[in-house]
């Protein structure tokens, strides 16, 4: 006769009513444990519980979400015969005293839960087993032998037990609590880069100084993790003037400028975003445009729901306008690079 025991919460020391509800995960972050009392001797027991608690080191997240479907399916399959057995067993056979011995038995190492090994489910005795069965940590010969403690063959029965999710040990992977990836769609944003260091390498108008920008644009998530961004706005970097224009020769670069950039971004995680793009900065020097082109790398993190903070690095060329007189001027390029902090607010 099978001994059907109510599950016991080891941590709290009280029994928990066993219902089918315990077999269904309430939420993926903290699934209720289904323990298969098999002390490592039944193959289905071994394969059921551990994967739900494992953590994939490569992907850095729990397998809980992936195995949720299998989890429910297995629970439902196991619940049917268990429910039949529960409804057909007499009250006397599920004696509460049996919990005490089972609770003190060693836990099966293959199931990192609050489960207890079951003792001879098909034993004809109605009382608790005098000796707890060997645990999964015992030697392999014991595991290989299906014999019970009293010489009777061990039952190939696995009984699912449920415990309250709130009493489950805190073994879940906290990485699963990371926010989800942004959904597909387009969102507008404003970007502020209040603190930057911009350098221009030139014999005459080379200069290192602060640069600031204010921009607006849109972010389009066109595939999971992939983004396309554009933004445009105004900025300022320290201007440099060399020579005397009235005397026939002068150079100028920097000052206020218009900036536009496009990005292709990829989410390295749900918080960590990297963008690679190209930008152009166009200023006015002696009445002439002095465009420059630079490659841009953004590394940022999403925080406070709609904010993004990061570091922007760019390198390329800037334009330098040389004036040889009132009507004579020409364009040249100089190496330029810089870095700046940026903050972005995405509108809902």
């Amino acid at each position: 006769m099978a001994i059907i025991q109510e599950p016991r919460d080891h941590a709290a020391g009280h029994s928990v009513n066993f219902t089918l509800f315990h077999l269904v995960p309430r939420r993926l972050e903290a699934p209720p444990f289904i323990a298969i009392d098999c002390d490592g001797r039944h193959e289905s027991c071994v394969r059921l519980s551990p994967p739900m608690m494992r953590t994939s080191a490569k992907r850095g997240r729990s397998d809980t979400g992936r195995s949720a479907g299998t989890f429910v399916l297995r629970g439902a399959i196991l619940a049917v015969p268990t429910w039949v057995a529960l409804t057909q067993s007499s009250p006397g056979e599920a004696s509460p005293e049996a919990h005490g011995d089972a609770a003190t038995a060693p836990m099966a190492s293959v199931a990192p839960t609050t489960s207890t090994p079951i003792d001879a489910p098909l034993s004809t005795s109605a009382g608790p087993s005098p000796t707890p069965p060997p645990s999964a940590s015992s030697n392999s010969s014991e595991n290989a032998s299906p014999g019970g403690a009293n010489g009777a063959p061990a039952a190939p029965v696995a009984i699912a037990r449920g415990t309250d999710a709130s009493t489950a040990p805190a073994q879940e992977n906290t990485h699963t609590k990371l926010p989800p990836f942004p959904p597909n769609g387009t969102r507008a944003f404003v970007t502020v880069a209040p603190l930057g260091a911009c350098t221009r390498i030139d014999d005459n108008v080379g200069k290192s100084g602060f640069c600031e920008e204010l921009l607006g644009g849109t972010d389009t998530t066109f595939a999971p993790r992939w983004h396309f961004d554009w933004e445009a706005g105004l900025g300022y970097m320290d201007a440099a003037i060399w020579g005397f224009r009235d005397l026939g020769f002068s150079q100028r670069s920097g000052g206020p400028y218009f900036v536009a950039r496009v990005f292709v971004g990829y989410d390295l995680s749900s918080l960590f975003v990297a963008r690679l793009g190209v930008q152009t900065r166009v200023g006015d020097s002696f009445g002439n445009l002095d465009p420059g082109v630079q490659g841009v790398l953004d590394l940022g993190t999403r925080c406070w729901t709609r904010f993004e903070v990061g570091l922007r690095t760019f390198a390329g060329v800037d334009g330098v306008i040389t004036s040889g007189g009132v009507d004579d001027s020409w364009y040249s390029m100089s190496l330029a690079y810089g870095t700046s902090l940026f903050g972005r607010y995405l509108f809902p």
């Binding site: 551990p50 494992r54 196991l78 268990t82 057995a85 057909q88 925080c303």
Partner: protein, 209 residues
């Protein structure tokens, strides 16, 4: 009761076995715990090339840069601190600098993965760190013999600030060994004058629990 138990005995293993997907081959990642986000202690060695700024063109030549660092990663790996010893040797033999000092780094990867310390960062392979090393530079320089014969060496001791960016990539599964690339510039403490810059690469060995 016996019928129910018998049905339970016969049905459950078969149903459970049928519900199981094909057994996947055992993976090492499931058996071994994932490595920590960062190990507490580190030893780093770097070798590279650099140049000194503001030298006459006749004396300008590449220099060999070597760095050894020993330190730790406090605050769960977000920061790095320790002692550093670096040297720069002119390939022409005109000058050499040895700089001991203390360094501090900020792991941008940690910040970006954690949402500025809002979440526990998930495992991640690469590392991007920015840092500075404040040290006392002891340099000795020589005038070329063609300029000033028998000129005595000139020794200069001054504080220097080295700012650097490190890019790390692990070399093994446990992420104990990492390949490190560094771009660095040595400046005055107030950042007004750039003395030298360099690019170097090396190995980072980390350990601890």
């Amino acid at each position: 009761m016996k019928h129910g138990a018998l049905a339970l005995a016969l049905l459950t293993p078969a149903l459970a076995r049928a519900a199981d997907p094909p057994a996947a081959p055992p993976q090492e990642t499931d058996a071994s715990p994932p490595p920590p986000f960062v190990y507490p202690a580190l030893v780093r060695t770097l070798v590279g090339l650099g140049r000194a700024t503001r030298l006459p063109k006749d004396d300008d030549a590449p220099s060999v840069v070597m760095t050894v660092e020993v330190g730790e990663h406090p605050l769960g790996g977000a920061l790095g601190t320790g002692i550093s010893l670096s040297s720069a040797l002119d390939s022409k033999g005109l000058w050499s600098v040895v700089t001991p000092g203390l360094f501090a780094t900020l792991d941008l990867t940690y910040l970006f993965l954690s949402g500025l310390w809002a979440y526990e960062p998930p495992p991640f392979a690469g590392r991007l760190r920015v840092g500075s090393r404040l040290g006392i530079a002891v340099s000795e320089s020589y005038r070329p013999s063609g300029d000033v014969p028998y000129a005595p060496p000139y020794m200069l001791i001054r504080p220097e600030l080295q700012s650097f960016v490190d890019l790390e990539w692990p070399l093994d599964r446990r992420q104990v060994y990492s390949l490190v690339g560094r771009a660095a510039i040595d400046t005055s403490v107030n950042l007004s004058d750039a003395f030298r810059w360099s690019f170097s690469a090396g190995i980072d060995y980390a350990w601890g629990q």
